[in-house]
Symmetry: C2
Subunit: 345 residues, 2 copies
């Protein structure tokens, strides 16, 4: 263990597009442990669309970051020192901690808050998988389809941002749950990859379609039963026009809107909400942090699917905490496929 560590701290709030100056890399001492505390070494930092929300001044579902605070982030870490009876050196944790090399936290907090889940990696599964398919990303897809979307076998499922981290999990889990799955992604390459590698039933390339709503209508002649939406904006609006009676819209994210939160006039206006009534639609947003009590049940099932090759994961790996800020905008530019992670050296 080192005495000095690197941390990314908030330099200024993000207003529209990320400028790459919102965070500042600083050196800080690694604090000493007090009774009941645990020292967690960050192994993998997960980059997520929610990072953009946490950087904005309007953030409202978690305590707002203050200038100088360590940037909030999901990590996979390992306990390096423990003054808490429930944690042993070497334990692995999922936790909502920060963009830093080490975190000192109360062990009680770690088990009950902050998205923390202690886990033991399966000996045949790489640790990487636990930050994507078998981490909050995968759980988000699972809970979204099962609990929120009430997905039934043979339902028509549409997934937006299908080549993104959560999207590709929703596509795969949709297939495992016996739905007919069509994914929306940007570019022929991504669409081809989705169909060829994930075995989904069809794809829509939003970059080349003239009319998104008509493309959806062609892909879903009987309407969409469940729309797993990571994107919001135009995708959501076009989907509303194509929902089946009694359809469910699982609002996992609105990535198309997060860069616009600083300037309301830029936000896309969804015109088809009036269809909620006549089509009897349900649209529901959720955060996986509210469902962590179910993970003990979900994780073994998902590990087995991975071992059986029913699902796979795809991470885009960036090495070194110092490269985290530079990597973040990839989530919003459509460049990225799969889960974007930072491996801490």
């Amino acid at each position: 263990m080192r005495e000095i560590q690197h941390c990314w701290v908030l330099n200024h709030y993000a207003s529209d597009k990320l400028r790459g100056t919102e965070l500042r890399l600083v050196k800080r001492p690694v604090p000493q442990l007090s009774k009941g505390q645990v020292l967690v070494k960050t192994l993998i930092l997960s980059l997520d669309p929610s990072n953009r929300i946490w950087l904005s001044e309007e953030e409202d579902y978690l305590p707002q970051l203050q200038i100088g605070d360590v940037m909030r982030g999901l990590i996979i870490g390992q306990v390096e020192q423990s003054c808490h009876p429930d944690f042993n050196v070497g334990d692995y944790v999922h936790a909502l901690l920060g963009w830093q090399e080490y975190a000192v936290v109360d062990g009680d907090t770690l088990t009950s808050m902050n998205g923390a889940i202690r886990f033991t990696p399966h000996p045949e599964i790489p640790l990487d998988a636990y930050v994507s398919a078998l981490g909050l990303t995968g759980w988000t897809a699972y809970v979204g389809l099962k609990e929120i979307g009430q997905l039934n076998p043979s339902d028509n499922l549409m997934v937006s941002g299908a080549a993104g981290a959560t999207g590709l999990m929703a596509c795969q889990l949709g297939k495992v749950m016996d739905a007919r799955v069509v994914g929306i992604a940007g570019g022929e390459e991504k669409c081809h990859w989705l169909e060829a590698n994930l075995g989904i039933d069809g794809s829509i390339d939003y970059k080349t379609t003239d009319n998104l709503s008509e493309s959806m209508a062609r892909a879903f002649p009987d309407g969409i039963d469940v729309f797993f939406d990571n994107v919001g904006g135009t995708m959501l609006d076009a989907a509303l026009e194509n929902m089946a009676i009694g359809g469910r819209i699982v609002v996992s994210g609105s990535i198309s809107q997060y860069q616009k939160l600083g300037d309301r006039s830029q936000l896309y206006g969804v015109q088809n909400t009036h269809l909620m009534v006549t089509r009897r639609l349900r649209m529901e947003g959720y955060l996986i942090l509210d469902y962590l009590d179910q993970i003990d049940k979900i994780l073994p099932e998902m590990e087995q699917w991975l071992l059986d090759k029913k699902i796979q994961y795809k991470n885009t790996e960036v090495i070194g905490l110092q490269n985290a800020q530079k990597a973040l905008p990839r989530l919003f530019s459509g460049q990225n496929t799969g889960k974007l992670i930072i491996k801490i050296e």
Copy 2:
């Protein structure tokens, strides 16, 4: 029974604002009964925002009206002749029939489809009440709050279109269910009436407020738990900004948008759907026609509330079928308070 009756038939589809030429009053023979059929005399015709949807060419939740078809409408009627074993002369029915003096329908259809419910008016309750508080309007409010909104005692409930037919029922039922109720209506007079006569906890006059969202924030310092929305558009958008974590939006209607269905560019764009995720919101549309199997349970409870003066009804009555088309636009101009009905002479 007469041999010739008056009917309103579709003359042309409505495109934007109602012109008063969409329907044409014609004389048609009253058909003879065949076996299994029932002759229903229309007593009261209910005018509803959904009439505007049925008049439009985009209508998609019921078979589309064709030019020359009798206009669809909710009625209270009485069986005048019966060739069906389950119906007796004198029986009262709620039914989705038409803007006409007499309808001949299959008795089997009448009990299972078309929103038809046979009922026996309580001897101390006027028949009028069964087209508003104790009819589909009241049931819509009841099911919306209980089933869709999952309203809990002490929840903060906001109702838009609060002085309208469904809105004033949602306000009253909200109070019966022990919620704190704030209604939105247009004009000081309506707002005063809501607070003084219905005993709700507060009101917002959307016509005089500079900023709807800020008015909501003042009325709901702890956020809105349930928003019962009849209006859509700007109301929905401002409400999204003020929902509490885990809030429910009950989409009963989108009356502000129905006149714009013919020209998509006129539809209001809701910009705050991205808040569905961070606030964990559920928004759900529904039609009371899907819940008719619950009415046997709901109706006696509501009758008792009316007898106990816990709820009241307010109808605006227009006499004569010939005045129906002229009366309809009142629903969209904000002139109307309470339930707009046509008494058939």
